[in-house]
Amino acid sequence: MTLFYQFHFYLFGLLAVASAAIFVTRRSPVAAALWLVNVLMALAAMFVMLGADFVGAIQVLLYAGAIMVVFLFVVMLLNLGHPDEIGDLRDHRWRLGAGAVALLLAAELLVVLRDPLPEPTVATTSLAAPPTANAVTPIAEVFFREYLVAFEFASVLLLAAIVAAVALAKRNVRA
């Protein structure tokens, strides 16, 4: 790994972590959503640097583009953009609990990082493939052969979610 690569990987990682820390402390939902978009963009850059070009593109299009727009749309629909009228942080008991959970997870992280991971043995497809090759083909080959059942279940799940969202959001629904 070159120093240039390493520097930018750390840069995007720190950008993601800093944006996430700002995101959970913003009062206004709109500001929080925009900081979350920042996190998602930094993560997309990290995905590309880890050799997952297609996943990075999907991250930008689907997460930062579609899902966050749905969140902002709901904030707008419910007229929640005024930070002083909505719920603030929880009281001290909850914050202490959150701190305890964070400490526990950090301790687990330290324990896990004590043993270094093995180096990559499988050459990743997008790194091994020539740069002109299609980034989608390796994923599609695995997805539509070995994981075809999961793909079909995912489509059924999406259909069920659409029906459920429409049924829940409809006014005057009679059970």
């Binding site: 993601a16 995101f23 990290m46 991250q59 990082l113």
Partner: protein, 97 residues
């Protein structure tokens, strides 16, 4: 590089958990759940370097589940807002003992 990615993934997940615990706004709690899903995606992508392409497939399935979860969850939030006129979890306490 995998180790650093797993480190950032764990930190992001922890921030997501802390956000779910300390916030009361239902929409922001949902966004924290999305952040946790993304942290897991990062570790999937990092470990795909070690174990091959199926990691990317898992990421795409996680994104599908996240989209479905966002659609249903936000519909529930809209329904709750119609009923309680608030998305503050302090005001939604019918199940409190």
């Amino acid at each position: 590089m995998i180790q650093e990615a797993l480190f950032f993934s764990a930190v992001l997940f922890t921030i997501g958990v802390a956000g779910v615990l300390i916030r009361r706004n239902a929409i922001i709690i949902f966004m924290c759940v999305e952040l946790m899903l993304n942290a897991v995606n990062l570790s999937f992508v990092a470990l795909a370097r070690l174990h091959g392409t199926p990691g990317h497939v898992y990421v795409i399935i996680v994104m599908t589940v996240a989209a479905a979860e966002a659609a249903v969850g936000l519909a529930i939030i809209i329904a709750a807002f119609r009923h309680f006129r608030s998305v503050d979890l302090k005001n939604i306490n019918l199940l409190k003992g």
